[in-house]
C-alpha cells in the first residue's frame, strides 16, 4: 500500500493509476469474486507471474502479507544506514521483527534464513547479483552421481533467462566462457573499480576464470529507471531504483493490465474441494478473515513460505499437508552454506562504495574434481567491504581490537578490503526441512514454521577448499592480509527446494511445469521447486522458471482443470 504520499517509481502517480490503486484497496473488503489466477506472494516470482498472466488477459489477484515500500524509506542516503541495516532493515525476520513479518523457530538450524516481506519481496534487500545456473547444475546425478537431475536442461531454460534479463535490466559483459553461447546481458557491465581490477589481473596471471558479474542493477538508464550511482547500499534498499525489484519492474505493468494486488494479506491455507484448489483463506492486518476464490492457485511465497502454506493446509484427505503424497513438502531445504575471504590491501580502494552487487565472479573451481574429496563446487563473487561501522565492529571475517591499537586495525581495514563471497552448492538432504512449529504463530494466529537444517560434510569440505583457493587469489592480487569467515550464520539468502519438481510423483511435489502432481490447478513458481541448489545466486533461475511456468500455463489454459 502506498502510504503517506502518491509517489511511485520516483514520480507522482497518474491520477488514473492512483484511482485504480484506491479502487483496489476499497475493493478488498467488499468484493470476493473469483479470479482466474490467485498468486500468493508479490516478490520475484509472484511479480513475474502476475505481469505475464495479466498481460495475457487473465484476471489476477495477488495476496501479499507485506506492503508497498517507497524508495524514500530506504536508509542508504542517511548516516544511519549501517545501524538500521542491523535491525529494521536486517534481512532476518527474527531480528527485524516488523509487523509484516512472520516468526521463525530457528533453534535447530545452522544457517538463519533471510527474506523480506513486501511488494518486491526479498528483492528489496538482495544484492542484485544475477548469474544463471550452469549447464551441469541441471544434471548433477548424471554427471556426478549425487542428488538428482532436473527434469529440464540449461538449453531449455536459456530463452527464459534471456527474456527475464531484458525485463529486469541486467548489466554485464557478453561472452563469459562459463556458459554456452547465447544472448548476453542487455546493458554493459557496472564499473569494476580498482580492487576488482587488481584481482582480475591476479586471475589472469594464475590462468583462472574470472568475469564481470552480471547484476540486475542498471549501468545505463533503462525503461524509465535511473542507473546505479555506486552508493554501496544495495542491501538496505536501492534509493535510486537502479536495482531491479518487481515493485518497479513488473507490478506496475501487471496492475496496468488489471492485476489486483492486496497487501497486508496473510494466507492461512489453500482450500480444496473435490481434488482441486478453490482459493485461499486469508487474514487482513486486523485479523478479519477473507476467502479469495480462484480457478488456479500459484504459490510464490519463497521456499519457506510456500512450504508453510502447504503444511498448514491439512484436510482429512491431506493430513500431512496439501499436495504432499510424496512426503517431500517442506523437505530438501537448501540454503547455500556461505564463506567469505577478505583481502586487505595497502592502498585505499574506497571499498565502501560500488555495487553491492558483485563486481566480478569466478567459476574456476565450480565443477567436480574428485581428487578434492568432495563433489560439486562454489561460485565466487567479489564485493566491497562496507562502511566504517561494519569495518570497526568484530563482524564477518574481521578480528576485533580494542584499546589504542583499535585505530591502527581500523586504518588497516577501512576502505582497503575486497571480499570474495563463496556460495557452495548445497546438496539436498531430506532431513533439512521446514515443519510447522507446535506453538509459534504469526500476529494473526497462523502457525509459524520451524527450520531444521544442518550443514553437510560435503559442504564443509567444499568451503574449506574454496577458502584456501580464494585466499591464494587475494595473495596473488597483493593482499598483505587475508581474513576468512568459514561459515556465516546469517547467510540464508537462498531458500530453495521444499517442493521440488520432477517427473515422478513419488519423488517430487510438482512437475516440470511447476504444477502439483496431486492438485492439478495448484502451482509453485518460487525457489521451492529447485531440484538441486547449484552454487549460483538463484534469483535469475527463479525468475526464468516462473516465466516458463506461467507461459506454459497460458498456452495450456483451455485444458487446465478448474473447479466448477
Amino acid at each position: 500500500m502506498l502510504r503517506g504520499g502518491e509517489l511511485y517509481m520516483g514520480k507522482r502517480l497518474p491520477s488514473v493509476a492512483l484511482a485504480r490503486r484506491r479502487r483496489q484497496e476499497s475493493h478488498v473488503a467488499t468484493k470476493q469474486d473469483r479470479a482466474d489466477v490467485l498468486i500468493v506472494g508479490a516478490g520475484a516470482s509472484g511479480g513475474i507471474a502476475a505481469r505475464y498472466l495479466a498481460e495475457a488477459g487473465l484476471s489476477v489477484v495477488c495476496l501479499e502479507q507485506g506492503r508497498w515500500h517507497d524508495r524514500s524509506e530506504f536508509r542508504g542516503t542517511s548516516p544511519d544506514w549501517e545501524i538500521t541495516g542491523r535491525k529494521q532493515w536486517f534481512p532476518n525476520p527474527t531480528i527485524r521483527g516488523l509487523a509484516q513479518d512472520y516468526p521463525l523457530n530457528e533453534d535447530e538450524t545452522d544457517i538463519a534464513p533471510l527474506m523480506f516481506n513486501g511488494v518486491g519481496g526479498s528483492l528489496i534487500l538482495y544484492a542484485g547479483v544475477w548469474p544463471r545456473m550452469l549447464p551441469s547444475d541441471f544434471k548433477v546425478r548424471t554427471l556426478d552421481g549425487v542428488a538428482d537431475d532436473w527434469p529440464l536442461t540449461y538449453e531449455e531454460l536459456q530463452p527464459y533467462y534471456e527474456r527475464t534479463e531484458a525485463q529486469v535490466g541486467v548489466s554485464g559483459l557478453e561472452g563469459d566462457p562459463a556458459y554456452p553461447p547465447g544472448a548476453g546481458p542487455p546493458l554493459p557491465p557496472l564499473p569494476l573499480g580498482t580492487g576488482a581490477m587488481k584481482i582480475a589481473r591476479a586471475h589472469d596471471r594464475l590462468g583462472w576464470h574470472w568475469w564481470p558479474e552480471p547484476n540486475a542493477i542498471l549501468s545505463r538508464p533503462y525503461q524509465g529507471r535511473r542507473p546505479c550511482v555506486q552508493s554501496g547500499t544495495c542491501q538496505q534498499g536501492c534509493n535510486e531504483g537502479a536495482k531491479a525489484t518487481t515493485d518497479l519492474t513488473h507490478w506496475p505493468m501487471a496492475i496496468d493490465h488489471g492485476a489486483r494486488l492486496i497487501t497486508g494479506a496473510r494466507v492461512r491455507r489453500v482450500v480444496t474441494e473435490n481434488g482441486l484448489a478453490t482459493g485461499a483463506e486469508w487474514l487482513d492486518e486486523d485479523g478479519n478473515e477473507h476467502f479469495q476464490s480462484a480457478s488456479v492457485v500459484v504459490l510464490a511465497a519463497n521456499s519457506i513460505g510456500t512450504a508453510r502454506i502447504l503444511l498448514n493446509s491439512t484436510t482429512s484427505a491431506w493430513p500431512d499437508g496439501l499436495a504432499n503424497s510424496s512426503g517431500l513438502v517442506g523437505r530438501r531445504l537448501m540454503m547455500h552454506p556461505f564463506a567469505s575471504v577478505t583481502g586487505l590491501f595497502d592502498e585505499n580502494l574506497e571499498s565502501w562504495q560500488g555495487q553491492f552487487g558483485c563486481s566480478i565472479e569466478s567459476f574456476e573451481f565450480y565443477e567436480t574434481d574428485e581428487s578434492r574429496g568432495f563433489v560439486r563446487g562454489a561460485k565466487w563473487g567479489l564485493a566491497p567491504t562496507g562502511g566504517p561501522i561494519n569495518m570497526a565492529l568484530p563482524a564477518r571475517a574481521g578480528e576485533s581490537e580494542w584499546g589504542p591499537d583499535h585505530h591502527l586495525l581500523f586504518r588497516e581495514r577501512f576502505g582497503r578490503g575486497q571480499s570474495w563471497g563463496l556460495f557452495g552448492e548445497d546438496l539436498p538432504n531430506e532431513d533439512n526441512r521446514i515443519e510447522i512449529d507446535d506453538t509459534l504463530t504469526d500476529p494473526v494466529g497462523i502457525p509459524a514454521p520451524k527450520v531444521i537444517y544442518k550443514v553437510g560434510e560435503n559442504s564443509r569440505k567444499l568451503l574449506d577448499f574454496h577458502i584456501e583457493k580464494a585466499s591464494e587469489s587475494m595473495i596473488e592480487a597483493g593482499a598483505h592480509k587475508v581474513e576468512t569467515d568459514s561459515l556465516m550464520r546469517y547467510s540464508g539468502w537462498h531458500l530453495l527446494g521444499t517442493a521440488r519438481m520432477g517427473d515422478d510423483p513419488a519423488t517430487s511435489v510438482v512437475d516440470r511445469w511447476g504444477r502439483s502432481h496431486d492438485i492439478p490447478n495448484l502451482y509453485a513458481v518460487d525457489g521451492s521447486v529447485f531440484v538441486t541448489s547449484s552454487g549460483t545466486n538463484p534469483t535469475s533461475t527463479i525468475a526464468a522458471l516462473a516465466l516458463r511456468t506461467v507461459e506454459h500455463m497460458v498456452e495450456e489454459r483451455y485444458s487446465q482443470e478448474v473447479p466448477v
Binding site: 550452469l134 551441469s136 564499473p191 581490477m197 590462468g207 555506486q230 565492529l393 583499535h406 585505530h407
Partner: protein, 155 residues
C-alpha cells in the same frame, strides 16, 4: 524511526556515563584519533544512535544502569561472556556513535555514501583500462563449463 519498532529511546545518566567510560576504554585517544568519550558516545552521539535504534535503549539500560566499572576490561569481558546481546548493544552504541560523528569521518577520510553522478558512469568508468584485454584472454583460454548430455533427450 522509533515508531517503527514501538520503543521510546531513553537511558539514564548512569548509563550515559558508563557508556562514555567504556567508550574511552575501547576507543581511547591514540594515533591521532580522539577518544570515543570526547566524541559524545554517552551524550549527543548516543541520542543520534538511539533515534535510529531505539531498541538498544533497554539493553543499554539493563547492562549499564548499575554497572560497577572499577575494572572496565573485566566488566566488558564478563558482559560478553554472560550477556552477548547486551555486550553487542554496548559495542554497537559506542562504535556507531563514534563512526557516525562528522569529525571522525573527516579524520578517517570518509565522505559518506556519496552517490556518483550518473553521468560519470561513462565508457571510461565502465570499460576500465585493460578490462577488455583481460576479458579477451579469459575467452582465449576456452569454455569452462561442462557440456551436458543431449538436451533433446530431456526437453
Amino acid at each position: 524511526m522509533s515508531d517503527a519498532i514501538g520503543i521510546r529511546p531513553s537511558v539514564g545518566e548512569n548509563t550515559r556515563r558508563a557508556l562514555e567510560t567504556i567508550g574511552d576504554h575501547l576507543i581511547p585517544e591514540a594515533h591521532g584519533m580522539p577518544s570515543a568519550g570526547t566524541m559524545g558516545v554517552g551524550t549527543t552521539q548516543l541520542d543520534v544512535v538511539l533515534a535510529s535504534r531505539p531498541d538498544l535503549a533497554p539493553l543499554l539500560e539493563g547492562a549499564l544502569a548499575d554497572a560497577k566499572l572499577d575494572d572496565i576490561g573485566d566488566f566488558v569481558r564478563r558482559l560478553e561472556a554472560e550477556d552477548p546481546e547486551a555486550h553487542g548493544a554496548v559495542t554497537l552504541a559506542i562504535v556507531a556513535g563514534y563512526y557516525m560523528h562528522p569529525e571522525v569521518h573527516e579524520l578517517i577520510g570518509y565522505p559518506g555514501q556519496v552517490p556518483k553522478d550518473a553521468q560519470r558512469l561513462g565508457e571510461r568508468e565502465i570499460y576500465q583500462e585493460g578490462l577488455m584485454d583481460l576479458a579477451a584472454k579469459v575467452i582465449e583460454r576456452g569454455p569452462v563449463y561442462r557440456p551436458t548430455p543431449n538436451p533433446d533427450e530431456t526437453s
